[in-house]
């Protein structure tokens, strides 16, 4: 695939928010007019082709005529869109020019004051780059900064602002826009497919070896350039992940340009999700390779409120402070989301010709993020099992036996809590199983038995679809949520003598590690099972585990080579067991 240079896109008008500019390539022509002036001066190697929504980065240069027609088409579409979009706006007496843009772009921070990010973090980033750019270039070993944080906390915006402050050129890698395969084939005349990961690898390889050539050819001073890697290529499967990891590690070890890598974490580190675990692993490996890591936290609702009310002032909107409060809270620290909500909200209020005072009475936002809670928070709720102290008065339509009576919950329905925590049945069951015994009364063995039995029921349900012939996903979904519900409600019901609240840590299930080790040991045994029976026949692993291994331990001095091997795995298992113990104690995560 030619056209690798499309990959080093140096963009001037890309938003401070990653991923957001992706779909709007065609807008750029109309947008650049109203750009804020204080921009980092940027070189462009290409007119942002890689970002066009329907045109992949591999498009050949020769087809520029066709391309421009597509751009035209897009502009038409955009006009249409704006007409629809601004239909309401016109009535409010605002010009089209302001409506052209989403506020997220319009109020992109340009100075440090405008950043909503915590000052300390900004300072940290700034001083890091200052050290690299101004003071000395090659004395410092590390040239890579890893910034992590949830979406919309201003990771990219901070980099942009810092770069403009330092007067540095910002070169950027953006993941090329994905295309539908058929479109891709249609657009590309020749060549075979190059995966995004390949492109990224090639890019990193080039930057490591030659620096940023395209930028120096644009006549910029070489002294101050920052490389920004926004959004790593999507990887799937272990092989691809290892490649990405190696490639990034190489970059960390050998690059001489100050580089910022932005990693969006999705806040699910505590789950069993493999993607999240991989990201965590990636941080660690980058850090061990010598990269500096700065973690951004969600933006505080006060900071969001400040920004929002400033926007309101500038837009001359009259939005009640309660509303801003509500939007800020609903955003969950995602400033981009908060601004978009605000814009939408302003639209909505003005749509019917109400007086602007009316929204103060409306506290219910019909949009915004769903409230989420972390998995640990949810687990804490289930395990602590807080109940009201008195049962509700009034006649119960379904009288129950004394022993089945429980006081009402001090929380929402367990299923609701589960859905807020995005709880998957399997990890929920594992976590509950690991931790529930700590939360039971010292004397209540009956409770323990009931709880564990319910967890067993959940396990049976979870297994029931495993390897079924025709996978019926819908049915599986039902089974999954039923299992989660049984696990949670079983724990809540079974724990009939809840302990008074006290501090408790929630552990990660030991089960996962123990399963890993037992699988490993099993593999070892499978390899050895042909060695008994004089190598003429094979043997059951359970027989090896229960009969051969213990005997071999006694007979070790008489063993021949292959049996010594068997023994060594036994010893190894013992060691790893100790390791495991150490690890889990490190892994203990505090609940609150």
């Amino acid at each position: 695939m030619g056209k690798r240079d499309a990959v080093v896109v140096l963009s001037s008008d890309d938003g401070g928010d990653e991923g957001e500019g992706e779909g709007e390539g065609a807008l750029s022509s109309s947008r650049s007019r109203s750009k804020p002036a204080a921009k980092p001066h940027l070189a462009r190697s290409e007119p942002r082709r890689a970002k066009k929504p329907r045109v992949s980065g591999s498009r050949s240069r020769s087809s520029s005529s066709r391309q421009s027609s597509i751009v035209d088409e897009f502009q038409f579409l955009e006009e249409d869109f704006n007409e629809v979009f601004t239909g309401a706006k016109v009535t409010t007496g605002f010009g089209r020019s302001t409506a052209k843009e989403s506020w997220v772009d319009k109020y992109k921070p340009c100075t440090f004051e405008e950043l909503a990010v915590h000052k300390k973090k900004v300072e940290e980033v700034k001083s890091w780059f200052e050290e690299r750019l101004i003071i000395s270039k090659d004395n410092l070993g590390d040239h890579v900064l890893v910034i992590t944080g949830p979406a919309g906390v201003g990771k990219s915006a901070t980099i942009y602002v810092v770069a403009s402050h330092l007067g540095a050129t910002l070169c950027e890698w953006n993941t090329p826009t994905p295309t539908v395969w058929k479109e891709y084939v249609h657009n590309s005349n020749t060549g075979q497919y190059v995966s995004k990961l390949d492109e990224f690898e090639a890019f990193v390889e080039r930057t490591r070896k030659y620096g940023l050539i395209s930028q120096s050819s644009a006549g910029e001073s070489k002294s101050s350039a920052i490389l920004l890697i926004d959004d790593l290529p999507m990887t799937h499967g272990n092989v691809a992940r290892r490649r990405l990891q190696n490639c990034l590690q190489l970059l960390v070890q050998s690059t001489h340009i100050p580089t910022a890598i932005l990693i969006t974490d999705y806040g699910q580190v505590d789950s069993a999700d493999r993607e999240a675990r991989f990201l965590e692993e990636l941080h660690l490996s980058l850090e061990s390779a010598g990269a500096r890591k700065i973690a951004f936290n969600p933006i505080t609702s006060n900071a969001i409120k400040r920004i929002l009310s400033k926007i309101c002032r500038q837009e001359k909107r009259n939005v009640a402070s309660e509303q801003i409060d509500l939007i800020a809270k609903a955003s969950g620290g995602d400033i981009r989301h908060a601004i978009t909500s605000l814009q939408f909200f302003c639209l909505k209020v003005d749509w019917p010709s109400f007086s602007s005072s009316s929204p103060t009475t409306v506290y219910d936002l019909h949009f915004g993020r769903d409230e989420t809670i972390s998995l640990f928070h949810a687990l804490g709720k289930f395990l602590h099992n807080k109940r009201e102290s008195v049962s509700p008065s009034g006649k119960d339509p379904h009288p129950m036996q004394e022993k089945f009576m429980r006081l009402p919950f001090k929380m929402d329905a367990p299923e609701k809590v589960l859905s807020q925590a995005h709880g998957q049945a399997r990890p929920i069951a594992d976590f509950l199983h690991e931790n529930v015994l700590d939360f039971l009364d010292e004397e209540a063995v009956d409770d323990a038995s009931a709880v564990l039995s319910y967890l067993g029921d959940a396990d049976v349900l979870l297994h029931s679809f495993h390897g079924a012939v025709a996978r019926n996903y819908e049915a599986e979904g039902v089974v999954q949520s039923a299992a989660a519900s049984i696990a949670v409600r079983g724990v809540l019901f079974g724990n009939s003598h809840p302990l008074p609240p006290r501090w408790h840590s929630i552990r990660k299930p030991k089960l996962w590690q123990s399963e890993k080790f037992s699988l490993h040991n099993k593999d070892e045994m499978l390899r050895q099972r042909f060695m008994v029976y004089n190598g003429v026949s094979s043997i059951d692993t359970s027989v090896i585990a229960t009969e051969y291994m213990p005997a071999c331990k006694w007979l070790q001095h008489r063993l021949q080579a292959h049996e010594v091997m068997m023994l060594s795995t036994e010893i190894e298992a013992g060691i790893s067991l100790d390791d495991r113990e150490v690890k889990t104690s490190d892994d203990e995560i505090e609940e609150w």
Partner: protein, 354 residues
Amino acid sequence: MLWVDKYRPKALDQVIVHEDVAQNLKKLVSEQDCPHLLFYGPSGSGKKTLIMALLRQMFGSSSEKVKVENKTWKINAGTRNIDIELTTLSSTHHVEMNPSDAGFQDRYVVQEIIKEMAKNRPIDTKGKKGFKVLVLNEVDKLSREAQHSLRRTMEKYSASCRLILCCNSSSKVTEAIRSRCLNIRINAPREDQIVKVLEFIAKKENLQLPAGFAVRVAEKSNRSLRRAILSFETCRVQQYPFTINQAISPMDWEEYVSEIVSDIMKEQSPKRLFQVRGKLYELLINCIPPEILLKRLLHDLLRKLDAELKHEVCHWAAYYEHRMRLGQKAIFHLEAFIAKFMSIYKAFLIATFG
């Protein structure tokens, strides 16, 4: 080499324990019409030994020249292709494998791999044994679907292929398969038979074996010949010359289980349960199958229990064993059983002693 392997009879004539079965098998093969065979019986009774000896009887010593192969099979299952990795042991005349290694994909193994193997009829110049033998281990662990497709395979390729199936419990093999095979039950050897074997080994090794000692080893072995020989060899390492009252150490995991049991009997509380869980994990990590673990646990518990509780405890053990097979994570059910036991036992203690 361990004594278990060293003194394994190689030919049907050398068999000590199941002599009658061996002679029958010999007759069966000499008439050159070998049906499909299903060997079943408890572990350590000599099924595998008989199968190997039978193969030798059929094909001569060439059946002992085996090679281990780890092959990846590509299987086209309608819409997608599946790769299954499976280790096989094969000689020119037979192939041996454990289809249950493929997990829930076992039915593909049975459908495709066996089919493919059975199709390739060995070319024999004498036109004598125009079939290959396929030895399948752990048939009782096959899923129901896999057993069904096994049945079809048996019918279709019976001209070119003989199956020898081997399993512990014939009750987990479908009726259809059982009726298509000659079922051969291999009983667990009686204790006097085990003693005979031990004496035979002692003679070969030039050991002085006091009569009472062999009997004790046989008693401890739970009527498993393999166990008896292994622990006999262990004792030889620990102390020789033998004395009649020499200690016969149990397997280390069994000791661990009895430790767990005494823990359970001492205290019944969630805290204790948590400690027990840690020990269970350790056993599971060392690949002790959870079913065997539960069985052993029950065995040890019953020995310490009052008669009136035994029935109830057995009931719950069976209940949780069943759940364990239905479920995925054995630890959930093992622990549930222990918790149940604790709850029953505690109630009993309170009722009895106040």
